[in-house]
Amino acid sequence: MAGNVTSSFAATGSARFENRSATRDSGAVRIILLALGLGFFALFLLLPLIVVFAEAFRKGFDTYWAALFDPDALSAIRLTLIAAAIAVPLNLVFGVSAAWAIAKYDFRGKALLTTLIDLPFSVSPVIAGLIYVLIFGAQGWFGPTLAGYDIKIIFALPGIVLATIFVTFPFIARELIPLMEAQGSDEEEAAIVLGASGWQAFWRVTLPNIKWGLLYGVILCNARAMGEFGAVSVVSGHIRGLTNTMPLHVEILYNEYQFAAAFAVASLLALLALFTLAMKSFIEWQARRTPEKEIQP
């Protein structure tokens, strides 16, 4: 599979192009392209990251800590953690199920199913929030019924969780499907033939094979779950101390011109992003260091 070929080249890296006269760019071209590429990188990616931390500490550590330990900030952090703690495991179960069904079997409609799983990627987050308002909101399909039972979904935790699940829906499945397709099912079949149950084959054979991909899927899904803004903004109602997640708290502080506090809370989310990227690099390095059996025919 194409995805695995890259790792075998990674060992040689750019040297295989730089050492040959035919593929080596001239000095001037090199310098111009490096300047353009890295300049663009610095301006559009590096600078915003630096700005987050610089602005967060602009008024000193005391303001920074005060912003983080403000009761509203703490409740926003708590809500974000709770929402992610519900959304990520649900998407994990779904992702593993979908990958097992799609990678291990052939069936009609498989291509369609794969496309439908990717659907949330192409839906604007604002629409992701809107659909749940249409169903569970006060004027929605089930709104009056739910109000009769005093159940709140919109402007409450369940709505936030639903919107978060929607926007992070494909992440784990997408990470696992190509990985499990590449690995095939010979090992699982051998385990079954030797008398293992389906669950034993999954836990002892499949899981060790997919653990790094699975871990990265979970980490990325978690980062997006904690950082989701548009979808959650539509369903949350922005009730301070109650239905504000961290990104929404950042927005409120910013709109109140409490810039240092807004960037302080934002810096926590930026740290989460950096942690996610570091884990990605670590996992890629791990996967390269322990060559998977997948490449064998």
Binding site: G13, L34, W100, P120, S185, L220, S233
Partner: protein
């Protein structure tokens, strides 16, 4: 590949497919249908008046125009970045490579306020542009900047693996047959990378059209000038105009699905192309 025979041996097909289809239907498919059912409750005239209102039309022009431009900028600089990362070695390369994915991992609201702090008129860069009469934040240019940030990794990450898989032999063959370096790049490398580049462009464009969090802080959100389509939906929702919000959402969904179809075709083209080349 998973063999045809595996269905007989491996258990769990019914369970896993069942979980997948039920969860997909409950979370994604049925809720999305709500948009079209709600839109169907409008009369054709109401629907047309909502989606062709001047503010809505101006927002389509802004959202699609800036997304297209941002995707084009990213196609050029994303290609250069992918080239630099694959072909050259330089200090800090690993860190640069890892940070390319930052827009995937950084919450959009954080990106939004950071970009505003850079380009506002008293901002890091904005204060130097202000005397020159250049305004970026709170103008359509600000929207463009945010969408460039959001879309960059799509181009780099689709082009990079294709560049890595490209055998140096093709370029050597071209060079030994007398092609100049420029000819080799435009006639050998570029055609091989084109499907991936187009896919990356389309992905960045599709993402830009729906983007909300990173844009609203820097856009200024002036009706008819710097108001993006997702914001129109939010504004209508806040006025309890559910039908209006849904009608605009239906327009966006139809366009997004069309884009998704195009991207799928592009990816199929890309995969076919890759197989032929190797």
């Amino acid at each position: 590949m998973a063999g045809h025979s595996s269905r007989k041996v491996l258990p769990g097909f019914d369970l896993t497919l069942g979980v997948t289809v039920v969860y997909l239907s409950l979370i994604v498919l049925i809720p999305l249908c709500a948009v079209f059912i709600k839109t169907a409750s409008l009369s054709l005239e109401q629907l047309w008046n909502t989606i062709s209102a001047p503010r809505a039309v101006a927002s389509y022009r802004l959202s699609f125009g800036t997304s297209l431009l941002a995707a084009a900028v990213n196609a050029v600089f994303g290609f250069i970045l992918a080239w630099v990362l694959v072909r050259y070695s330089f200090p800090g390369k690993k860190q640069v490579d890892a940070l390319i994915d930052l827009p995937f991992a950084l919450p959009t609201a954080v990106a939004g306020i950071a970009l505003t702090a850079i380009y506002a008129k008293n901002g890091w860069i904005g204060q130097h542009l202000e005397p020159l009469g250049i305004k970026i934040a709170f103008t359509p240019t600000g929207v463009l900047v945010a969408l460039i940030f959001i879309g960059l990794p799509f181009v780099v990450r689709t082009v990079q693996p294709v560049l890595e898989d490209l055998d140096a032999e093709y370029e050597e063959a071209a060079a030994s047959l007398g092609a100049t370096r420029w000819q080799t790049v435009t006639r050998v490398v570029l055609p091989a990378v084109l499907p991936a580049l187009t896919t990356g462009f389309a992905l960045a464009f599709a993402r830009g059209v729906g983007e909300y969090g990173s844009v609203i802080f820097i856009a200024g959100n002036m009706p008819l000038i710097s108001e993006i389509t997702p914001l129109i939906i939010i504004t209508k929702l806040e006025q309890y105009d559910y039908a209006g919000a849904t009608a605009i959402a239906a327009v966006m969904l139809v366009i997004s699905f069309a884009l998704l179809l195009i991207i799928n075709l592009l990816q199929a083209w890309s995969a076919r192309h890759g197989r032929r080349a190797t």
